[in-house]
């Protein structure tokens, strides 16, 4: 009883309102140099590589990816990224760009999922092929408005499921995606945390990805970003190109629909 009283008093003084969040000078300094960094972005090196890979005959079936249907018809790359994730009847699921490219590598070229999922992320000695391919495909939607469709029932289910996954708190630290990305004007260390539940900020989950990450100097896709978010969320590991990740990407991309995608970016 006495305990509760003391707690009450402490609670009243403990959480003083956060210092008025005026313009963050550190973030402003980063922004000043962002345009310079984006103007000459090593991501372009991977874009070139990805285009080569798209056209090359590869895999057990010695086929190129030029017959891959990214949602706008076989072989149509221009604008496809801006309209993903979307539902694909041949796979009967909603797929984000990397899930779709991996699907095409399996069906057209004969690669095995297990091989592609074994080491799917870039490191200092290797950039996996899907990473360069995603960079190439994404670059072909530069300057276009995002329009991830919500027409098929499974696309609407993916949005709602993704939203529920986004807000699901669990794990050792009780975190959900929303713990960091559900409120305005917060940052981790010096890194700003956009609020992905709001349309004008959700674009920041899409813009800049795939991205050349200054840390390590590696090209990364949203599959990597979500994987590393779940690591830091203290969850177990999500499967590579799994439906969970496509659903999450559907949620944030649809929230950002109508806004312009600026192409592969550069990230801290």
């Amino acid at each position: 009883m006495k305990q509760a009283l003391v707690l009450g008093i402490v609670a009243a003084v403990a959480w003083l309102p956060a210092a008025a969040q005026t313009a963050d000078p550190t973030a402003a300094e980063f922004d000043k140099f962002r345009a310079i960094m984006e103007q000459d972005n090593p991501a372009e090196l991977f874009e070139v590589k990805g285009e080569e890979l798209w056209r090359a005959r590869r895999g057990p079936k010695n086929a190129s990816l030029e017959q891959c249907d990214l949602g706008l018809g076989a072989g149509v790359v221009k604008g496809a990224y801006a309209q993903m994730p979307r539902y694909f009847a041949d796979a009967d699921r909603v797929m984000d760009v990397e899930a779709r490219i991996v699907h095409c590598m399996m069906t057209l070229q004969g690669f095995k999922y297990e091989e592609l999922a074994k080491q799917p992320f870039s490191n200092e000695t290797r950039t996996p092929e899907p990473v360069s391919l995603v960079t190439y495909v994404a670059a072909q939607s530069r300057g276009m408005k995002l329009a991830s469709p919500q027409n098929h029932p499974k696309e609407r289910d993916a949005y709602e499921t993704g939203k529920a996954i986004f807000h699901y708190r669990a794990g050792a630290f009780d975190f959900s995606c929303a713990s960091c990305h559900g409120v305005d004007d917060k940052r981790i260390r010096t890194q700003p945390l956009p609020n992905f539940t709001k349309p004008e900020q959700a674009i920041l989950a899409v813009r800049g990805w795939p991205g050349y990450r200054m840390t390590g100097g590696l090209m990364h896709t949203l599959q990597w970003r979500l994987n590393d978010c779940y690591r830091q969320q203290r969850f177990p590991e999500p499967g590579y190109v799994s439906e969970t990740l496509s659903a999450l990407l559907t949620y944030v991309t649809v929230n950002a629909n109508g806004q312009v995608y600026r192409g592969p970016g550069i990230k801290r």
């Binding site: 550190t26 300094e29 980063f30 000043k32 140099f33 310079i36 960094m37 000459d40 981790i188 260390r189 010096t190 890194q191 200054m214 840390t215 390590g216 100097g217 830091q232 801290r268």
Partner: protein, 155 residues
């Protein structure tokens, strides 16, 4: 610089290698006398590196503009823009004082380039970025501090 040139000129094999490099178009005749300065690049302090390069008497100048972030978003990739307004600028050299090997490079603009360069460098900890400009046989310098911080979750 002299050490390297002497090594290059001493052995026949070295001359042969150099000649074939020129033939391969790798080295233009214009750069033969500016061999990569090993002793400067391996110096552990800016002062030692500047001595190796013959920059001992550089004087401060306000005519060198260094554009770099006050706080770097990531020390692995720090953008630096350097412009010299000193007439007759022939080269621009960069030193990151707190790096294990401060001397980062020299950009020779004497053969048809404007006195400007953009580069991106690794800065291990908060450091002065020092720039030395050679012009008319003399050396001038300026410096700018770049702070390096922890950006993400640190995990």
């Amino acid at each position: 610089m002299h050490d390297t040139r002497r090594t290059v000129l001493k052995g026949v094999w070295a001359i042969g290698a150099l000649a074939s490099a020129v033939a391969a178009g790798l080295l233009s005749p214009g750069r033969v006398f500016a061999a990569w300065n090993k002793s400067a690049f391996e110096a552990k302090s800016t002062i030692d590196a500047m001595k190796s390069l013959g920059f001992g008497n550089a004087e401060d100048s306000k005519a060198i503009e260094i554009r770099a972030p006050d706080i770097a978003e990531n020390g692995a990739v720090v953008p630096i823009d350097i412009t010299s307004a000193i007439p007759g600028t022939t080269s621009i050299s960069v030193f990151i004082e707190k790096n294990p090997f401060p001397y980062t490079g020299t950009f020779d603009v004497s053969q048809g380039a404007l006195p400007y360069v953009h580069l991106r460098v690794k800065i291990g900890e908060s450091s002065q970025v020092r720039v030395v400009v050679a012009a008319g046989g003399k050396h001038y310098m300026a410096a700018k501090e770049v702070k390096v911080t922890i950006g993400g979750c640190g995990g």
